[in-house]
């Protein structure tokens, strides 16, 4: 049985995950910690059940007029001296960043999945900039030259012993595999990078169209530094993150943290509407006080509008990126970051197909059992199994079929059973 190339590479990646004890150890610890914390948070937040349903409605409504909402958000950002860009694809987004950042700069970043989508770090480094990821997980990933394997905890597969090895190499001395020590090292190492950076790059969790305000939810405090210390702040976000009003955005902010990390509320929520400004001298407005002088917001389409126009796949745009379904997925628990492409788990299969091309998940989709557990745990009730089935159907029509499934088809049609008997 000959396996096509797109199949072989994914199978190898999956086997690497299944056979890597370290990755499994890291993942198991994270799953246990997450599920315990989430159960506790959900039982304590009595109104959450109501709020998550409201958020589902907000997302449904937002999608009805998404393109107008994006336009409104962009106009409101421009009105207060920010700059807004609508990038149709990764090429356009990369062009905006090349122009804005230029070369020879010190760049600090907080975690952004969308920036992974456009392969931003490689681009900036190629232009001759020095880029530091400042989210601890991303920092570890960057030092190890790996790919993120969870949308919120990108280094979830790396146990503390491995992190200690990575940090020992970075500092040229032996570092103990003690988690508080490791966190302290990242803090010390990155501190001056924040203050000396020329550019800070963040994502956004939700954006209110009626004021153009972005919300950045985080626990480490690095996104605050990144968005505040450097003279230029660039935010890159997917167009689907826009909701009509500030009140709507606050609803999203209430739902994300408990589902994402099992906390009642994240340590920090930053709301940013314009570059920093003051009118303290003679009531004359000047941009660039203590925070950034420049604010740029890049709204990325890259397949999202295509999803929006598709009655079946539109629902994927409701995803808040809490990442909970991944920890709850029996398959993600064993194959982690190989279950998807740039986004992971069942919903990640859909997202990767639209933002990176269907072939990137043509093999990984066969790892989904369509068991439906992700639907049960989703705060906005996204029917991912249905979308996975539809995408699979589409891939089959385009000729992407695993050799094993092809043989099963032949056997069923000829012999009435899948076993060739």
């Amino acid at each position: 049985m000959v396996e096509p190339g797109w199949y072989v590479s994914k199978r190898n990646e999956i086997d690497t995950w299944i056979n890597d004890e370290n990755r499994r150890k890291g993942l198991n610890r994270a799953v246990a910690a997450y599920t315990t914390a989430k159960e506790s948070a959900l039982s304590r937040l009595k109104s959450l059940e109501e709020t998550r349903k409201e958020v589902r409605k907000i997302k449904e409504n937002s999608m009805e007029s998404l393109q107008e909402l994006v336009k409104e958000a962009m106009e409101n950002i421009e009105e207060v001296n920010g700059h807004a860009y609508l990038a149709k694809d990764t090429k356009e987004a990369r062009r905006v960043f090349s122009t804005l950042v230029g070369e020879g700069k010190l760049v600090v970043k907080s975690k952004s999945l969308v920036s992974e989508e456009i392969d931003l770090n490689k681009l900036l480094e190629k232009l001759g900039n020095k880029v530091y990821e400042t989210d601890l997980g991303e920092f570890i990933i960057q030092l190890r030259n790996e790919k993120p394997t969870h949308i919120l905890n990108p280094s979830v597969h790396i146990p503390k012993e491995e992190v200690a090895k990575t940090f020992s190499k970075l500092l040229g001395r032996e570092i103990e595999a003690d988690i508080p020590t490791l966190v302290g090292i990242a803090r010390e190492y990155l501190r001056d990078k924040f203050c000396n950076a020329d550019v800070g790059i963040t994502g956004a969790n939700v954006i209110a169209a009626n004021t153009g305000t972005m919300f950045i939810i985080e626990n480490e405090g690095n996104a605050r530094f990144v968005s505040n210390a450097p003279p230029m702040h660039i935010c890159i976000t997917g167009v689907e993150k826009v909701v009509p009003t500030l009140s709507d955005a606050f609803k999203v902010v209430q739902v994300l943290p408990p589902y994402a990390t099992g906390v009642l509320m994240s340590a920090y929520v930053s709301m940013i509407t314009s570059p920093s400004r003051t009118a303290d001298i003679e009531k004359t407005l000047v941009y660039g006080a203590h925070g950034p002088k420049e604010l740029h917001v890049v709204f990325l389409d890259n397949g999202r509008i295509e999803m929006l126009k598709d009655p079946i796949f539109r629902e994927a745009l409701y995803c808040l990126r809490c990442g909970g379904c991944m920890y709850e997925c029996p398959v993600y628990r064993v194959i982690g970051g190989s279950f998807g492409h740039n986004y992971f788990g069942g919903i990640g299969i859909i997202w990767s197909a639209f933002t990176s091309g269907e072939e990137t998940v043509a093999a990984a989709i066969d790892a989904c059992t369509k068991c439906g557990r992700c639907l049960e745990v989703c705060p906005v009730d996204i029917d991912t199994p249905k979308m996975v089935e539809k995408l699979k159907e589409r891939l089959i029509r385009k000729g992407y079929i695993s050799p094993k499934h092809k043989a099963i088809r032949k056997s069923i049609l000829e012999k009435g059973n899948p076993f060739g008997e």
Binding site: G372, K392, I412, L413
Partner: protein, 235 residues
Amino acid sequence: MHSKLLYWKGCMSRLRTTKIANATEDLLRRMEIDYETLGDDEGCCGSVLLRTGQVEDAKRVAGRTVKMIRSKGYTEVVTSCPGCFRTMSEEYKKAFGYVPFRVRHISQLLYENREGLRVHLRPWKVKVTYHDPCHLGRHMGIYEEPRALISMVPGVELVEFKYNRKLAVCCGSGGGVHSAFPEIALAVAKAVVNDRPPGVEIIVTSCPFCNYNLKEAGSAEIIDLPEFLIRAWRD
């Protein structure tokens, strides 16, 4: 007209987990429930093709199956496999609008006839847990019938997985994963079996695919619902 009951074994119980089909037939006979099978003529319900995205082929196969069952005059169908059950009762309706026979899962039929079963069960001191098959539980809402049947055995202690019913963890073989990536199916099965409640001697399930896959993980006894009830039968 006499309504005839068809026991649809499904490909897995017919050719791989044959113990399940044998136990089911044995149990139906002992309970004096009249049934017939299609023997070697039984084809494919279409579930496997449907879940692997081969929708047009699934429809063709399903069309043939509907025609055959109708031509033999069956008005009632009972399945061992939740995949067959879901496909025949839900998907056929979507594909053909109307299905000329009623389809039930074996756990439903047994539950309906439970009083006739109860008198034959002997006391059996055993600690068991029940694994919810996805197609039966989450997708079709059948959670309580298998549990009620297990609990009918005097002396049985039924304990639950930490995550059960709606939140039950898939065995890892569904949706064509077992054939495409057997190593994933096995790793997930091991995780499920290892998470069984402490002291459990037997994991009862009600799906030949779960049965087959969980058995590969080893380390615990896995049996299907009718097999469990046959073992509890007073000789």
